[in-house]
Subunit: 346 residues, 4 copies
């Protein structure tokens, strides 16, 4: 059994790591940290995680943790993750970082968007952007995975096939995304209190959200040229799920059927990407609680735009599930181990 530690385990992504790993046949969680909740039982914060009834949160003491585990999931806040990642990595451990700290290859871009410097640029160079559908080979050989952000996962998976095939005008990409409220994390804040969110809907971070450079980095790599996008996130009054509606200009005339065939061909062997048949479109309900990404496609023949709709669970394929998927790849486990739950409906 692989010994695994979770650093920063009291938030929603930490909780999801715990839950997913509890049914993983090859893994044992040996430690889970939380500064604020150190000494509390896991079930005090997550009453439904009955299987962890005897486990307690401990403070994050890297030296002490080193001996406890061979693979580390870090679900710490941005910036706070930099040093811990470096420490575990330099000490020969496998590290999967769920923060944004090791996602952007260029430390200048990082400091521009995250308002803090990157102090471990050598380690940064070792990090692989852990979107398995794009970088599986690199992940397999890596000991340090930067787990992708939730919005970028939905956007990049939606855009990859048409970009890699060079079918769209690169200046035309608009990504209109809508996320469930768990994306804001588990925190006390009037803005994310029940009454303020319920029966509401709004855009936020327009033309300034931090996931923009992450999306641009990856799609520029796919397209092999610099691409800028318009990315607008919105806050949905649901717990989970991201749905991105993506608008792109096709270079040549095409139709829906052709596009679906292309996507099915490219994603045909992927366990977690479901390209839907014509006239079917994703609903976040269908992927909530799962590691799946659904993609629906429509060519608007009146304007020759392709509309791509992709949906994921922001906490699973957009965070903890993808992290476990990356672990499975690194460790040579079956890629879907622990991750094959279907959505509970309704």
């Amino acid at each position: 059994m692989l010994k695994v530690a979770i650093c920063g385990g009291s938030g929603y992504t930490g909780g999801e790591l715990l839950r997913i790993l509890s049914s993983h046949s090859k893994v044992k969680v040996t430690a889970v940290t939380s500064e604020r909740s150190a000494g509390k039982k896991v079930t005090d914060l997550f009453p439904s995680l009955y299987t962890y009834a005897r486990m307690e949160f401990e403070p994050l003491k890297p030296e002490k943790l080193l001996k406890k585990a061979d693979l580390f999931f870090l679900a710490l806040p941005h910036a706070a993750s930099q040093e811990a990642v470096d420490f575990f990595y330099q000490n020969g451990k496998k590290v999967i970082d769920l923060s944004a700290d090791y996602r952007l290859h260029d430390p200048k871009v990082y400091s521009e968007w995250y308002s803090t410097n990157h102090n471990f640029t050598n380690t940064l160079k070792k990090a692989v952007y852990g979107l398995p559908e794009l970088h599986r080979g690199k992940v397999k050989k890596s000991s340090l995975v930067a787990n992708p952000g939730c919005y970028p996962t939905s956007a990049i998976l939606g855009l990859y096939p048409v970009l890699t095939k060079g079918l769209i005008k690169s200046g035309s990409i608009i990504i209109d995304s809508k996320s469930g409220t768990s994306g804001a994390g588990r925190k006390g804040s009037v803005n994310f209190s029940y009454c303020e969110v319920n029966e509401g809907f709004k855009a936020y971070g327009i033309a300034g959200h931090r996931h923009t450079p992450e999306i641009e980095q990856e799609i520029s790599l796919i397209a092999k040229k610099k691409i800028k996008v318009n990315f607008t996130p919105h806050l949905l009054p649901v717990n989970r799920g991201i749905l991105s509606t993506i608008y792109v200009d096709l270079i040549k005339r095409s139709d829906t059927k052709t596009m679906i065939e292309l996507y099915k061909k490219i994603y045909g062997k992927e366990a977690f990407v479901k390209v839907l048949d014509e006239n079917f479109f994703p609903n976040i309900k269908n992927v909530a609680g799962t590691n799946f990404c659904e993609i629906g496609l429509k060519v608007d023949t009146r304007t020759n735009k392709l509309i791509i709709v992709s949906a994921i669970d922001n906490l699973i394929k957009g965070a903890s599930g993808q992290a476990v998927q990356n672990m499975n790849i690194i460790m040579g486990f079956k890629e879907s181990e622990g991750l094959d739950s279907l959505a509970v409906h309704p």
Copy 2:
């Protein structure tokens, strides 16, 4: 125009006072206070209150406020209200206090349930419990109204007719109440964050909620004997509304029709109490956004229990609307002035 000040105007009850008074034909709001938001515009906290676009929150300085208004609504936290109420009252102002500080006649009971002493017991004696349907005459002559709590409003209005007629066994009363989340106030707290409340439902404060002695005080006065109740509140994943399901043992056999007739007779002239016809029962949707209380009745002939279901909007009939109703009574305005909005459906 009556000049009115609102002390503690940044929470949900404060916002509702502002909103209701904005369409009141005889009142002008001249000041609104908030310690934390002093200097901010009302519309910074309540973007939808367009009519207050030029008004700012100010700190609560009683001396300064004295000159600004003739009637004071206090929507301050419990204990914080004691002194301010006393000050405005002793300076000859009309005061309507939305906190619990002046509701319990017996200061010992107050300190037992609220874990703090009452330091203004002489002023306390002057306070009238402002449930107009029971105490309209006293409210009319009063300058100090203790505005009832939300749960007590729903429970007492439900129980009043059978209690005043002596039809039920006083030891048998069970009040199972369910409240929308706005009852917890406008605050940043993980427990009341969207994700924790949404798709959830739970009981809380079982056998220990502070509204228990308030209910017991009033129904004991009605029944003219000491009554203890079982009161269990629950947290509903909706913004607004309280629905109380009340179980009582009838002393004699009766039936639903008879009970409805009694309730209709007693509440027939009340503008804000709607006794429903047989086989109709309240839904919080029907009263949300309004000052109405709906009551539905059923006698279970198998067990000879009467089941009373009452519904109100916790922030309106359970707080700010009832406060305005009390103001209307004190000032001799039409009792429903500013309060006749119907529920927006759906």
Copy 3:
């Protein structure tokens, strides 16, 4: 008092007309029709409309209704409205039609998108598209108003200032709209049942929604050239509200401040359009239950796109409220009469 009849009063727009008119000082509702609910009390279908406790639905018999009212609101299904509108109009009555039957000036476009012929093309020529902010003068002189659709209202109000000033590339318009579920009407359908909608989110009618030609007609008129748009509606798990996120390419470089100034200038005297200050954006919560439209603006200087966010209540500014606004204009009443409620928060 103006005598008013509502044809098709059992759905959500009919209910909203009843509710709004109940507080209108110059109007008396003399008849309300429903085929399916004829003979039932209004309060059987709308328990919260206490003020209509004595009114019953009647079947739609045009001859009989003629004598009962001077102005007719028609909230009938599409196609079903054609003949009734013609009848009341030809008999000299004022008519405000909430269906789509008289919105599209070109009957060919109508039959193409609505799969039925228009049989009253002469009457169609008399109809004015009742978006007061664009066509107030025409509405004032008209006896037949085609009340705009909900999505078009949000889209056109958002686009009007930049289009009328010729600031954007007309081929670039993308309208990504999200609507509350009441937009689907009051009906029994598995797809709109609580469990299927709750915790879900999806796009629908991609590149084929019937509101597309309505938007294109109006914005082409503003721009004085043929414009095609990409319009994608989504289904939000809330009761009310439409938020449209609109992406347009600016012809010249500009900035957010300049755009806000332009919008404020153009809409400055409008009672129901609120252009928000910089860094503020609409939330459907702020307009739900009201006739207001909120507009927020942001120029993305990286891509020189303007992002326009507009929000309305789909049943009020998007239907019944706008219908009453049109009535007020036609009749010479104050334009905001009956329509000045603020949103209930939370």
Copy 4:
């Protein structure tokens, strides 16, 4: 692999059977029926059940089904189940019936509450009421299990310990239950449409719900005397979960600690019943998506009442999960096989 057929597979309980069985290591679903959806793919109705992409619904032809499976789950409407159950049972198959048709031992009580006769009273005598925590031994030996109703499961599990120990007054039991909307089934109905349920809350079926005699049958058997209860269901605006708040009079003075000890002792070995520690109470969120039942307890020493709060997922422990649990018992599989998922939070 055990071959299993699901009769009536297009509703929510059918969908849950499919989902749960898809991860069951000892079972293969060989047929699923639906009259209305015969010929459709399972994924047309349940897009998230990817693993059934190649399976279609077929009409319910008992003769034909006989050969296909060894164990039959019937998720048919009440009354419709009678004959099919009898047929499969008489033909030597194992049958687990999720309808109410075989739950009530007395056919007179059945016809009184369900307004239809029972035509298979001999088969009825063979049926075991499949609440494993009470009747595991009988279930084990049985070929015909009447799977309990959702409300009864929550109520009976809550009451069993104090009833079997004779600690409460049998005339005093009040069960105030609140259910998520999936309890109403998957159907098109205005009353259960999103807009009507969302932001609403109401009681229904007061003193007349069909689960009353089922609860009374079982608790009378436990207490070894006839017991009548007051049972009031309410409709919660959530998808899943039942929370029952149960009030009983204790015969002797007791306290919370003692009661918790008793419940822990009685349920200590049960895989699916979680008795919570003092001051912890159930939340439907903690059990939604799982087969667990949470129970919290509080003695109100002021009134000597015990308040029992129990929570389950109405579709799992209250239906399909319990059905699989019963199958596991009958077949000698591990009782929790396929059923050990934890709740997804949030």
